[in-house]
Every structure is written in structure tokens, then in C-alpha cells.
Symmetry: C2
Subunit: 438 residues, 2 copies
């Protein structure tokens, strides 16, 4: 049988990695897929031919991406350019031309996925995006197919390797954020502009996708709450550890009676949870289904070859889809297109979590009682208190509180009152806390 | 559209769980699958109608399993009877009748899978067996589809929850094997006859399946080496911990230049590995692919609802397969049926691992030197030595050695010589050791 003809957009890290994987493992992939897979046409603005193993297998390389999506011979287009534009236009054009698409572009799917999937559905083609979430971990397939029998209750994931590397180093070595970030940049784990990673935007893109797959709702990136890790201080990492917790930058989506939570923020989690021990640049996603209970998926969330692993797995899936009935396939967002729900996404004010609070209290009698009184009046129960001795010559003392679950709006009111109280100095540090229990 | 009609064989733990999941999550499953799924015909020798939520949805229940597989209206048969016979005959008959099959029967697939898949292939039907390995963890889908781009290097899994519960209790509480086994039996985690679980036969069934999926070889249960955990002593658990290791009962399959290893045995692994922290009845499978690196999959490996989660996910997959091109599907063993390889399976003598050795040495000068000499002569390098002080009045002392990797045949020769040496008392305790490094 003829090889399946692939058009490739982008020859950067993941593009180059995909060429390498398709070349290096060509025999084994063909033994699995039932057909050889060949990149016949690629486009890239710039690339380094010396650095890409297998580049010589590509039939034709130019800088004209639209020529690839218009190439009549191409059956599957792999989009690895990244960003919103022209990725969106290229993907829509490929679909219009009746081609299947594979993309690793989380920003594109989170922002324009609804439009892209509708176009693909109308045209009877498929869009694979396994590589868009957690790199090489086949988490989209797990949630969409592997857990299809479950009513999913929640998902919590370490889905940004840069952030996890920084938090791991802060914990292991007691270093501060800026110092570790600079090292991550030197090592190539963080971009020159680290905003997307450390402020949680990249994780929010991925979480948006996971929430839609889990709960059958349209993609709603604009409703995902995002808080970064740039304000985490070494002392909070250390206090959390003393209390038996680790701070991880989690993407969390949960179904409640009132609606769906979608949020990315630093989170204290018990150190005995398996996901609390996922360190360095690794990713992991914990999924709670009503039948299966908790399941966890762990692996490399980025990098040339791990991401290419997911890209090429999607290609193998699509090779099989070439002859399937277009009306009976795995739906893009796990639920049939006509079956998406309009369940509301909850604003962060309506989210209920437990909290870690660090309060700089004046070292005088009655302060703790006043703070406890404010919390009590707002309906907040205290689970644990840790009061440090004041340092020599200091008039303030850090007071650490862990609370039970409470709606964020109530916590905001309590924090405003505590900050206004004259027994307290400066701002209250608040980090959300989750038990992640089965 | 008409509901898909299911025939169900067996209403025990997993059968009852599958009825419950299909009933409880009927709406959500139909929104995913695109069609409602209905059990129209079930057979069971005996069952407890009070204990099965959703039993009333089943059209007809009798004790005649062959009537179910011969029922013209049934499109998919779920086999949850277990054992070899009549499960084999029922599955083959269902296939002959043109029905798709889902089974959780690891023994059946490991022993008769080659025959069953060939029959299914010839008939153009599919056999789903996700539930046969690691219960609710979608590990078969991950290896077969999610990692399809990779040349898989090795897999190591905790794939028997009973054994993992026992080893976890032995470590946490310092208890001995027989004591914990009795408790596991009381808790319902272990069968009255625990042989299948504690001697590694159940794990070997599952490992046989994973090896075929990973390396594209026919199922060869008879070539899987199996060693149980019944001889593990609390002192070895404790010595391992002092050296920074945990003992887990692992199924390991690895591709080497000489062939494929398939082995189930107690294994020392570094305590910092994520899989070393998988405790209690939970399962986890670590897969090393050449592109993706290490990935890990964790969840409940048994139980009514977790196993039903995998069974019903297979049903949802098959609902989509009802209209697919039979010549272009995901192959049962990940590789196309004509593309399985005859790579040899290595005998345990040819397997290379590191070792933990516990030697009961006489407390006199020169014994250590003699043992080190024997090891050296057999080409075995020592990585670490731990010598305990002799207890008051004792004339022997436990000597713990960790070795570098060496072929098992050489280790067998060395152990025979050490046991024959008059500076040593009794048998040498030998536990294999793996780094499970990325």
C-alpha cells in the first residue's frame, strides 16, 4: 500500500523531533499503523538542517505553509508552528481542503478549538491534539477514551514543567523564585519571557482543554482563573513542608452542584500523595472518576521527542481514521458535538477550597484571638495553627493557619478584615490547599 | 438510533459492577458513545439480585451462557466469567457468530489470546481486553495507541494489588508475610487460595499481555519467569529500606539485543522512584519509550467498579468499531497481525540484573574476603556492602551485598560456590534489583 502522505508545518523543536521519530522508528510505526508514513511536504520559515535527524526523507521543503495545506497529495497536516496566527488560518484551510490535522498547539485549541472542531466535524475530518496537553503523556486519550465509562469528578494536574522545576528547586535547595528562574532560563527550561509558564497561562490553556474533555463543555479559556507562582516565597515552601505539605502549581477542574471550577494556582497538597512527588520538569495529571477512582498519568510534559511521541501517535490514529465512518468516530471533545452541555463555569469567588494563610502578627497578647474571631465570624474553621517564635529583636511573628474548606468570597472578606486589624502587619499570604483524596 | 445490544456473561463482582456503571452513567456514556448501550441478555450460574444496582435494566437473565452468545440480537458480548473454560469456548463462539467481545479475563488472553485474536481477525470482529491488565488503568490503550510512535524499551509494573498490599504492610509495620496474608484474606484482598496472587501467576498473565503489546510478539505465557513473594522476610524489607530501596513485586519485560525478557519477581527499587511509592492495593505501570522517555500509569488494579470502568470503556470503543472498516483498526496486539515478530524470549539464566544478596556469614576473619573473591571470579562487581554487628552470643552475622548488573547464570554459579563455602551458613537470599532509570 502507498505510504500515507504528511504535510508538516514548522521545523522547530517539536517539528524536528517529529521528523526524527518518524524516521528513526519508521519500521515499527508502519508495523503498528499498517501503512508507512511519509512527510512529503514541509514548510518552515527557518530551520537548522544539521540538527534534524531524518530531514532527508522529506520530499520537499519550502517557506510557504499555505502551499502545504493546499498540496493535493497531502492527507494529514501536522501544525507545529505554534501561536494563534497564522496557525488558525492554516488549520482551517487544511480542514476546508478535506485534510486531517494534528497539532501540538495548546493556545490555538484552547482559544479557537470550538471553531476548529466545528469546521472539522462539518467537513468529516479529524483534528488530533494529544500533544497539546502534558506533552508525551497520552492524557487526552486516557480522559476521552480510557475513562469513557466514568462520570469524572475532578482533574488536578502538574501541566507546566517549567513551573514544576522552579518549585522543586525552591523546595530542595531553599532558593528563591527569581534565582531559580534565572537558572531555568540558562538551562533552557524557561523562555526569555517566562510569563506564559510562570503566570500559569500555558497551564490554563491545557486545563481548559482537560475540562472540556472531562465534563463535555465547550472550550472556555477566558473563564479559567489563573494565578502564577512568582509570588511564592521560600518561607512558605518551608512552612508547608513542616506541616506535611508541598506547594505545586496545579491546574484543577472540578464539577460541583453549582457548576464547573477551572483554575490554575499554587496549591498545598499532602506530601504523601503520589502527585506531590512529581519533581523537576516532569508532568502528571490526576483524574478522579466515579467508577475507577483516582488514576494518575506521569511523564515528560515537553521537549522535542516526548512531544513528538504524542504528535506521531495522533498521526497513527488518523491513519486508521482515513477509512472510518466520519459519523462514528471518537468525538474531539470526548462527547458528541451535539451533546456538549452549557454547565456554568464558576467564578473564583464561588470556588470552595481549604487555605494556607501566613499572617504577620504583632507579638502581643490577644492578636491570635482576634484573628480567630474574624475567621469564625466569616464561617471559616481552623484546621491547624503554627506560631513561630519571634526572631531576636523582632516585634512581629509569622502565624501560619490551615483552614477547612470555605468559599473564596468568604475568605476574601476575612482576609480584608484581618489586614485592616491593627494587630497585623502587611498583607496576608494566602495559598489554596487541596487534599486530592480518592 | 437504537441502543447497542449487549450480552453479558457473568454477574459476579465485575459483572455486577459493569451493570452498575452502565446504569448509573447511562446518560453520560451515551453522550460520549453517540448511542445508548443496553444489556439485553445476561447469563449467570448464580448471582445476588439485591447486590447489583441496575439489574432491572437487563432484558433477560438465565443460566445459559451459550444462549447469550447465540442471541441474534446481541452485538457485543462481555465475558466476565473468568477461567479458561468455558470462557474460551464462549468467546470463540461469540466471534464465530460475528459478535464483538469484551473480556476482563487475563488468564484467557494470556493463554489463548493468539487463537482468539486470529479468529476475531478472520471474522472481522474486535476483542477488547483493557480490563485484563491493571484493572481500571487504561494501560493497554496507552501502550497500544498512546505510545504508538515509540520503540518501547521496557515496562515494569506493580500489577497485582494483593501482593502490593502485603509488601506495603510488611514494610510499614515490620510484619511477616504469613501474618499480613491472613489479614488480606480477612479484608477480602486475597483469595482463600492465594497462590495466583502471591506466587505471581496473575501478574505473569498480565505481563505476558504487556510484552506482546510492547514488542509485537505473540503471547507466550509459558515463557514468563515467575517468582512469588512468599519467601520475602521482614529483615530483607528492613535491610532494603536502610540501603534506600523498597521491595516491590514487579512484572518486568525488556528488549535486549539478545531477545525479550519476561519476568515477575520481587525487586529492589530505589525508594525515590515514583513507582516505589505506589502502596497498598494500588497498581502502577512504568513504560520506557525511546521518544517519550519514562511514563507512569497509576490506579486501582482490581475491584468491581474500577474493573467495570475498563470493561465499559472497551464497550464504548467497540460501539464506534461497529461501523469501521474491519481491515483498518487498532490491532489487538498493537502491531498488525501479519507483523508480529519471532524475537526470542530469554530464559531467566540469560537475564541481566543487579542483585541484593543476604549471606549468613560466620563471624571470623577472612570470610568477607573469600566471598568477594568468589564474586570477582564470576565477574560480579560489588556496589555496596553492609555488615551488621553479630547479636549477643551469635556466631553468625548477616552480610548484605548489592551487586552491579550481571547475567543470572553467573550469579547462580557464584551463589552455589558461596553456599558451599564453609565460612557461610545456610542459603544465600537473593533478590533481583532494578534502577528503573529514565
Amino acid at each position: 500500500m502507498e505510504p500515507v502522505k504528511i504535510g508538516l508545518l514548522g521545523l522547530g523543536t517539536v517539528g524536528g523531533g517529529s521528523v526524527t521519530v518518524l524516521t528513526r522508528n519508521a519500521d515499527e510505526i508502519a508495523r503498528r499503523a499498517g501503512r508507512a508514513i511519509q512527510i512529503t511536504h514541509a514548510a518552515a520559515r527557518q530551520y537548522d538542517p544539521e540538527r534534524i535527524e531524518g530531514l532527508e526523507q522529506i520530499g520537499r521543503i519550502s517557506d510557504d505553509a499555505f502551499a502545504v495545506v493546499d498540496d493535493l497529495a497531502v492527507e494529514i497536516v501536522i501544525e507545529l508552528i505554534g501561536g494563534y496566527s497564522p496557525a488558525r488560518e492554516l488549520v482551517l484551510k487544511a480542514i476546508e481542503n478535506g485534510k486531517h490535522v494534528v497539532t501540538a498547539n495548546k493556545a490555538l485549541i484552547a482559544m479557537h478549538g470550538n471553531e476548529i472542531f466545528a469546521a472539522a466535524q462539518a467537513k468529516g475530518v479529524m483534528v488530533g491534539f494529544e500533544a497539546a496537553v502534558a506533552g508525551g503523556i497520552p492524557i487526552i486519550k486516557a480522559v476521552r477514551e480510557g475513562l469513557a465509562a466514568n462520570r469524572i469528578e475532578w482533574i488536578a494536574g502538574i501541566i507546566n514543567g517549567t513551573g514544576n522545576f522552579i518549585l522543586t528547586e525552591m523546595r530542595d535547595k531553599g532558593r528563591d523564585f527569581a534565582d531559580v528562574l534565572a537558572e531555568a532560563q540558562r538551562l533552557g527550561y524557561a523562555e526569555a519571557d517566562p510569563t506564559f509558564d510562570v503566570e500559569g497561562i500555558d497551564a490554563a490553556h491545557k486545563l481548559t482543554i482537560l475540562a472540556s474533555l472531562a465534563f463535555g463543555i465547550p472550550l472556555q479559556f477566558d473563564k479559567t482563573f489563573t494565578e502564577g507562582i512568582s509570588k511564592i516565597e521560600p518561607q512558605d515552601v518551608a512552612f508547608a513542608a513542616e506541616l506535611g505539605y508541598r506547594i505545586k502549581h496545579l491546574g484543577i477542574t472540578r464539577r460541583t452542584a453549582a457548576g464547573i471550577e477551572m483554575r490554575v494556582h499554587p496549591t498545598l497538597i499532602p506530601h504523601r500523595r503520589l502527585i506531590a512527588n512529581v519533581d523537576g520538569v516532569m508532568n502528571a495529571v490526576l483524574v478522579k472518576g466515579d467508577a475507577v477512582g483516582p488514576t494518575l498519568y506521569y511523564g515528560a510534559g515537553a521537549g522535542a521527542l516526548p512531544t513528538a511521541s504524542a504528535v506521531v501517535a495522533d498521526v497513527v490514529d488518523l491513519v486508521r481514521a482515513l477509512t472510518t465512518d466520519p459519523t462514528n468516530r471518537v468525538p474531539h471533545l470526548a462527547f458528541q458535538p451535539g451533546e456538549l452541555a452549557d454547565t456554568p463555569v464558576l467564578p473564583i469567588d464561588a470556588v470552595e477550597t481549604a487555605y494556607y494563610l501566613r499572617i504577620t502578627a504583632l507579638d502581643r497578647p490577644g492578636v491570635m484571638a482576634s484573628i480567630a474571631g474574624i475567621l469564625s465570624e466569616e464561617g471559616i474553621s481552623i484546621e491547624a495553627i503554627k506560631q513561630k517564635e519571634p526572631a531576636e529583636g523582632e516585634t512581629t511573628v509569622p502565624l501560619i493557619l490551615l483552614t477547612h474548606r470555605i468559599e473564596e468570597a468568604a475568605m476574601n472578606r476575612a482576609i480584608a478584615r484581618i489586614e485592616a486589624f491593627d494587630g497585623v502587619s502587611g498583607k496576608v499570604v494566602r495559598i489554596r490547599m487541596e487534599g486530592l483524596e480518592g
